[in-house]
Symmetry: D2
Subunit: 337 residues, 4 copies
Amino acid sequence: MIVVMEKNATSEQVAHMVDRVQQLGLKAHVIEGTERTVIAAIGDKRETMRESLASGEGVAEVVPILAPYKVASREVKPEPTCVERGSLKVGAGHLGVIAGPCSVESEEQIMESARAVKAAGATALRGGAFKPRTSPYSFQGLKEEGLRLLAAAREETGLAVVTEVMSTEDVELVANYADVLQIGARNMQNYRLLEAVGGVDRPVLLKRGASATMEELLLAAEYILNEGNPNVMLCERGIRTFESHTRFTLPLATVPYLQHKTHLPVVIDPSHGTGHAYLVPPMAAAAVAAGADGLIIEVHPSPEHAMSDGYQSLTPAQFAATMVRVRAVAQALAATP
Amino acid sequence: MIVVMEKNATSEQVAHMVDRVQQLGLKAHVIEGTERTVIAAIGDKRETMRESLASGEGVAEVVPILAPYKVASREVKPEPTCVERGSLKVGAGHLGVIAGPCSVESEEQIMESARAVKAAGATALRGGAFKPRTSPYSFQGLKEEGLRLLAAAREETGLAVVTEVMSTEDVELVANYADVLQIGARNMQNYRLLEAVGGVDRPVLLKRGASATMEELLLAAEYILNEGNPNVMLCERGIRTFESHTRFTLPLATVPYLQHKTHLPVVIDPSHGTGHAYLVPPMAAAAVAAGADGLIIEVHPSPEHAMSDGYQSLTPAQFAATMVRVRAVAQALAATP
Amino acid sequence: MIVVMEKNATSEQVAHMVDRVQQLGLKAHVIEGTERTVIAAIGDKRETMRESLASGEGVAEVVPILAPYKVASREVKPEPTCVERGSLKVGAGHLGVIAGPCSVESEEQIMESARAVKAAGATALRGGAFKPRTSPYSFQGLKEEGLRLLAAAREETGLAVVTEVMSTEDVELVANYADVLQIGARNMQNYRLLEAVGGVDRPVLLKRGASATMEELLLAAEYILNEGNPNVMLCERGIRTFESHTRFTLPLATVPYLQHKTHLPVVIDPSHGTGHAYLVPPMAAAAVAAGADGLIIEVHPSPEHAMSDGYQSLTPAQFAATMVRVRAVAQALAATP
Amino acid sequence: MIVVMEKNATSEQVAHMVDRVQQLGLKAHVIEGTERTVIAAIGDKRETMRESLASGEGVAEVVPILAPYKVASREVKPEPTCVERGSLKVGAGHLGVIAGPCSVESEEQIMESARAVKAAGATALRGGAFKPRTSPYSFQGLKEEGLRLLAAAREETGLAVVTEVMSTEDVELVANYADVLQIGARNMQNYRLLEAVGGVDRPVLLKRGASATMEELLLAAEYILNEGNPNVMLCERGIRTFESHTRFTLPLATVPYLQHKTHLPVVIDPSHGTGHAYLVPPMAAAAVAAGADGLIIEVHPSPEHAMSDGYQSLTPAQFAATMVRVRAVAQALAATP
């Protein structure tokens, strides 16, 4: 950490901050600049110290030098992690494609969806049984019945099942049916839930909160990793910005940035990331060109009749065409030195 | 809702959408414009319909006309709600001031804080026992021991206790000790938690998520209200924007906007909203001038030694001075026609 | 336009608004909903009317139905525009690649850059002679001398020259040397400048402002088109959001969105859009996968010694490798049905 | 500056960066941390250096320590600046109130406005003659005729005239009629225009761009100050965020933040900052409570008939009531120690 003093800080204030740094178990190194003094605080303690030092008298700013996450960091584990479960393999050169409807609505709907996405080349099935809905008046999901239908679809198609878990009470139940537990964007900082899925033997798909920084996302992953679950996939699904022509703004630079900082695989959700079916195919291809390790895409047999997210769901035919483009891009890049 | 058709939509597409509107139990009213056709869908169904209609062929856009929240709406209950519990009274002309440390750290710290904020005029005590922390390596709170200390501080000072609850499992425990349950910004859309506090006989202080819209905030309140708990306070604590000179951007227009739309009281948190102690006093005064029903302010006996949020905590003396300014503004406005 | 009345609007207020709509030359169509009345205002007048109607008593909101831009609209001209000048061809199936240094610094630097980008396959040369700099203390560009050097580089390499013009006084001068006039993001709403370049026989590369909406960008293009210059390229160079790990947030969904709304070609700037050289190659490939009509990329013979934007500039070797990836993606997609 | 090396940077890379720092005329100070090396670069050079160093091999990040602005800084001139011209006095304890219509529309309209705002206590008159409009189809202002009408209104009422100048060609013309030159938000980084108004003997009201940082705003002011014009007022008029219930998000923490960093006065524009007339009075009072040195408010004799911005304009009666509240708050705070 670098403690930057105010221009007019007194030597007493500087001496006091040197003391504080040392009390925190760090080494203090004073540098007299032409305009102000800065104190380098050396050692491996992190976040907490910073808050504490920042309120010292005469302190202008405390600049952190070390990233606050550890286990998720590429500096700690340089080789990429491949998350694998059943038919799904994501990371370290494996492109996983998770597809299916926003919500499980009926046996017919989920079976038809599963067959269609499998035929087009998806490697896992998505479908919501517990649905976090902005409005209490919206469809809240089929709950356990939905989980049963997902398991039946896996039975028939062999596709691994990815589904969301919304609360600690449901973790065990959902894990009984699902292959991968999804943490939704709204729960990215629901720390008790992160700890709960960290204690379960299932890979986790962790969605970025709509206004979460990269650091916050990696620290959320760290909550899971620290409980002993090493199989975390990070999912970019768009951030909230001033743009209103798309549902969210989908920043694909997340892919190479995260791959630089962490060994965990990165999955892109172009459905929520754009909110419009016609924008999904080009953004899926773009995600793969940016180097994404996986995709998660909403597909519905009849988007017009979907109980949620119909406007951003692809038809099976649109999804099949998207897969052709996605594969073409993946192969082209694989063939490039 | 207004269903806007594409410029080149066919008459079959228009007829199809008219059918869809009617199937949904709404009345369809077709308007032929000079450039395109729009269909007004009349009736009181809400959100769900919109998603469904938006994916029809030839549809350019579906524009909602009705707000999706009901019970929270000022149209349904025109007179302002006053939330009251113990020493705290917020709304309908009552200015509540909740103050205290970010975290409960020790008996001495919370007692000293409670006495100081009471002396300066606070009407409730805040203090975190369960702390949602971005990093798993940060101090996570004293948990039940913290709750006990808060109750002891209430015993001595008579101040109502406001404290955060982070998960459904803890709701009963926290309610046993606290007067007001706080839902943090990161849990604003943790719907199971909202339902849980909706079933408890305690007022709720619901903090706005860092990127939540007004509609999302009011729908989150609606989750609580719908469970039978009418005592919800909405709290603006800043939103995430491109600004980095403050911790968050604190938009005070939230106050008059919400007061226009809802009967629920509006509380401002200038501590998290700015992230710097020197910005808290002017923003507290500004919040009251904007018409806020309450304030929640971080105060610590020694901010430099705080285990969290030290850089944004006021000393007791700074808080006392802030209260003088706040009262001056409140009285000036009360005396104005 | 749809004029939405307040729930408790009186019939006098409704009648008054009907009058207002008719005074503005529009036809009024009243629809009585179950909760409130809306008035559809039919006709082809735009923007101005809306502002005027919105302040009527009893009016809750005025919802526009028509996009405010006309000439830029795909509804008016369905076939895509190809902008062409010298070696540069962008749009309607032609992928243009503009590359070169942020600033022209010396004869040697611009010549070396031009040869390198030409060899790697760029179809135009970029280079700033007039530089808009955030700080008055930063390098402001070589001005006319820079333009002369750019022209010399064109002479030798045959590459069309793209360079920024910052003020109306310089339009003629810059047009004397350059093939394409660039309007920087900070000047996207400098309307006098837009009108000036609209009156010149040179294609214009119009960069999106860092917080401009799609509508504002298209209306800025409309200022140029309306002056008689049909050759406008729209350039996405990133928007300002809460993200700080990249210089800006680069939303590639801009590409398919704009291609849906306008016939003008869309160019992506992954250099400014990310601000870090290592993020440029993946984002360049992603842009092409998203369907971009062009790229503009910063390349410098020695980024470490660049007088501006060194940290986001590619070396010639990095640029050559990027071009290989970009071409692979373009060919893969061209071969896909 | 602090040059932070990558964790695995070699000693050659560190040595190279030390050389680079010294070549730039700075002193290099190497600090070996437990995980990585940082180099403190000591001296008073600024911005340019940083860009250059950041692209060195093995460099993770370059952290600036000094603010890049100088003349605007409070460290250079600790006492607050009072900007004064005719009836207007802003800063150093003087609260200026600039009011009037968005656009000058006719003699009757501007005269009626001027009389009304003067009667209510405004200390200057605003009114646009040159209007920057998002759409080329919107009313563009009366131009010189508008300036003449403003001068006539000053003649009668004695109010100083504040009006926008949009381009360098018009600076002289506008300065001939106006007392204060306004630079609009869209032109905040139109550097040629900033230099032009820096060379004129008229105070400047510099509006913050919708996505400008504090640093960019202060550097824009620095462009003006450096040309010899010391009379700059900074104006916060709202920033662009994800919020859509207000036209912009108005961050009042700008006031105390800027007053901490600069000696220049800070003016708040609650009209553009909110976009709705009913939100203007509470936000005007809040701005004064936050310590604003001035207000600029849109007032129109008949907002419903305004040619621009009608929905955010106050009627004369609403403005008079607002002034009563504003004065009450100002007096209350002045009486507080």
